[in-house]
Symmetry: C2
């Protein structure tokens, strides 16, 4: 192909991995976030909104030993003029890193403990895929400055309240685990030496990754990874942790320790951690959380101690929690499966330390906003599409002033309304437009009607129904179009809206 | 100073020109935007949320003849691997450019006309200054696909309704001008030749810039710029448009054409544009807008035709509008001045043309969210700070379960409440914390109270008042701390909150 001399037109496309939200997609999210914010507020959490941009330094996303940021973030270098290299800046990839920066920057001004919530987009410079976007919303709540597990229990209770508030009562479970218990189990299994925590680091990494694959590989696969190693179907070999069978039993007993009641589960765990001090501490934390939650009336049908929660165990330092929606949906292959995880969190201790050198305990949760929205839609609990506007059609361009007066009256009565502002020549196009907008009512006034001081009010909802299925009786008892006096316009429209067909 | 070997700690600072929003700063903005969205909705506008990131190509921000984006945007190049240079991406610098892309990308699916509103942050890579940030909120409404000035009139009416909704009735004015009228005046002044629009381009640029300086330079300064040129106080010379005195009179008569009524103003303008076809068209548009707005009851006290509106005249192609808040504030030097402009917009025709080659008329407005928020605060119409949580203090760490039960009861009653989760050792710190949070009530229960089945409920609002000023009588009639039965806790707190001191 020869190059064209005409300037190339830009492509009208959202960048790869980014998307646009229209109408109800925007309002549904806003409504859901407002409900969540109301729960967070009731729990004493305050909103915080940081900007999208942070220094890469503050985000802690420099690649090790390389003078450029992690490829996982969108980053650029400040332009400081010819002679000077500017700071690297990046879009935040989560809401925790900015919280860490804020907690350090304002440490003398913020209340302590500081309960804050944050809602907003985050950005990941990753390969986009179906349903995987490079900008998405998170909705976090964290308590900074409290080492008390009451703070963890509170976040779990708050999560539960969020689901109840969203109409998902009975369809969710918040599951709690504790990293310290796993550490105790590691100790009992011989891959953690409290006297030398740096020993067996590699083995512990393998154990963590192995139990994280329990869902996918099943018990026998994980047992292989805990032992000598595992060859997968392709023939690839994954090195194992080298645990003897009895130690592997201990680790698997941990992930399977859930019993009918929290007390029973904790009894099993206490047994498993044996003489480990850190393990006993973890079990005590779980027991304390169970007690606190029970005192507030959160039964095991809503919040449960479940050592099979493994996501995040490698990152968090104490309690870990995860919220799952338990109702079933059909997957892309038409098979039933549980909706699954929509939120997760836990306790982490080095939030502020990077900045100040001072350890500050913190715990918090992050809700996956898009997944939760999808869940609400699947359960029919999502926002209803907004009603389209009443459309005042234009029969006679010269009478635009009168049409504007009509629409002004309707709006002042709180009714969503507009005059058709496209080319009015083809009246059919005006009704097609009203249809596309989901308009409930159209107003028609030609010069004959104007002279007679009347307007036609067309019930588009009823009209659509009649066109589809109504009987003659229905048609007669409630015609889809009525002629009313001009001064009765607003009342007539209001009545149609109040009593939809 | 010698370099330290310890790894340097990252600075805990928001990047230069970016800021954090805490508590009420977040909720006040959200509340204001929700009110504006309700008005936009009533006018039939639908929400649209595009992502923060666009291709630089779509934004149209490549520097002319240079293979890199405009310095005014934050931009980076997609990482496509070693061998391939990726697309340039950038943060949006306004909400209009993404609308243009969306209007082109979805042109076959969107209703036409397409009324959309958008609210969100935009980013400018500019030197930050006091009160000038590199991320700030905009709130736009645009109608794409209607060339009818009824669409412009509608946006002006909607702006007026927004201010009324926000409690600024009587404190604002929406002013309307028209670029076509200015073109007619240019024609009359001899710097626009309808037969050859490219002629006198430089002169027209000078005229535009000159009238834009009317506020700052006054009539004589502008007259100099319209004529031979002007030497400023520093001795710098600015070249003039070279207009003869009579032509300069015509231009200045244009900016000063506002009369008591829209009809009178239009009569003056019609005189000024003389035989110019485009000028007459502009005057007719202003007359039509005045008629439409009057029919809806918007008097000249709310929306007025005012040719002294010059902002945007160089950019827009037809009607131009600007909203000003007319109440007075004190500037940084303590002098009274009008609050000034908070929104502006107008008609522009090449929105979609860049992408599709097809001209699509559009008109819209952008509200400066931060300025409007500041105005609301100045008028006492801003959001009230959220009430702090009721704080259940911790007198006895072993009784945490009971404290959590109390807070659970309060929250279930819809009362914002929390248990103190810091180190409870120093009780004074707990009350200091409650003070910092703006807590209205504190709950106290030590082991003595627990045994007696009672709690202490401390009215912190009243307590603060008494500490300041109350008489002995007030103190006696309403003690700041009451002891009530444990089961009366919620009712007692509720009563205190309902009847604040």
């Amino acid at each position: 192909m020869s190059k064209s001399k005409a300037p190339r037109r830009p492509r009208a496309e959202a960048p790869k991995g980014f998307r646009d939200y229209f109408g109800t997609e925007v309002t549904a999210r806003n409504e859901m976030l407002a409900k969540i914010a109301a729960v967070y507020h009731r729990y004493g959490f305050d909103p915080l909104e940081t900007s999208a941009v942070e220094t890469v330094e503050a985000l802690g996303k420099f690649l090790p030993d390389v003078d450029r940021p992690n490829a996982g973030v969108f980053a650029w270098q400040e332009d400081e003029g010819e002679s000077k290299a500017g700071d690297w800046m990046a879009l935040r990839y989560d809401l925790t890193a900015p919280l860490a920066r804020v907690a350090a920057q304002y440490r003398n001004d913020l209340p302590s403990p500081y309960r804050r919530y944050a809602m907003g987009p985050v950005w990941r410079n990753e390969k986009p895929g179906p349903g995987r976007f490079r900008q998405f919303y998170q909705c976090d709540a964290d308590t900074v400055g409290s080492g008390n597990v009451a703070a963890d229990a509170e976040i779990c209770a708050m999560l539960s309240d969020v689901f109840e508030e969203l109409g998902l009562g009975g369809d969710y479970i918040v599951r709690i685990n504790n990293r310290k218990v796993l550490n105790g189990v590691m100790e009992a299994a011989g891959v953690l030496d409290p006297a030398d925590p740096s020993k067996f680091e590699e083995e512990r990494g393998i154990v963590l990754r192995a139990i994280d694959k329990l869902d996918r590989l099943g018990e026998s696969g994980v047992r292989a990874l805990l032992g000598e190693g595992r060859k997968d179907e392709s023939g690839d070999y994954t090195k194992g942790a080298g645990l003897p069978a009895s130690a592997a039993d201990t680790v698997l007993a941990f992930t399977g320790a859930r019993r009918d009641s929290g007390a029973e589960t904790c009894a099993v765990l206490r047994e498993l951690v044996g003489g480990s001090v850190i393990g006993a501490e973890g079990v005590a934390e779980l027991e304390e959380m169970a007690r606190l939650l029970e005192a507030q009336g959160y039964g095991a049908d809503r919040i449960v101690i479940d050592p099979s929660v493994v996501r995040g165990l490698g990152y968090y330092t104490g309690p870990v929690y995860e919220a799952e929606l338990t109702f079933e949906i059909l997957d892309e292959k038409g098979r039933k499966r549980q909706f699954g995880s929509v939120a997760g969190g836990g306790r982490y201790d080095d939030l502020v330390k990077r900045f100040t050198g001072q350890a500050v305990p913190a715990t918090g949760v992050s809700i996956g906003v898009d997944r939760l929205l999808a869940a609400l839609a699947a359960k029919g609990q999502g926002a209803k599409p907004a009603l389209g506007p009443v459309v005042v059609t234009v029969m006679d361009r010269a009478r635009m002033t009168e049409y504007q007066a009509m629409v002004g009256e309707l709006r002042r009565a709180g009714i969503r309304a507009e005059v058709y502002l496209g080319n009015p020549k083809n009246f059919g196009n005006q009704l097609k437009y009203a249809d596309k907008r989901g308009s409930p009512v159209a107003i028609i006034q030609g010069s004959n009607e104007a002279e007679a001081g009347v307007v036609q009010v067309k019930d588009l909802v009823l009209g659509a129904k009649i066109a589809e299925s109504a009987s003659l009786e229905e048609w007669k008892s409630r015609p889809a179009q009525v002629e009313v006096k001009r001064e009765d316009l607003v009342a007539t429209v209001q009545a149609m809206l109040d009593d939809p067909a």
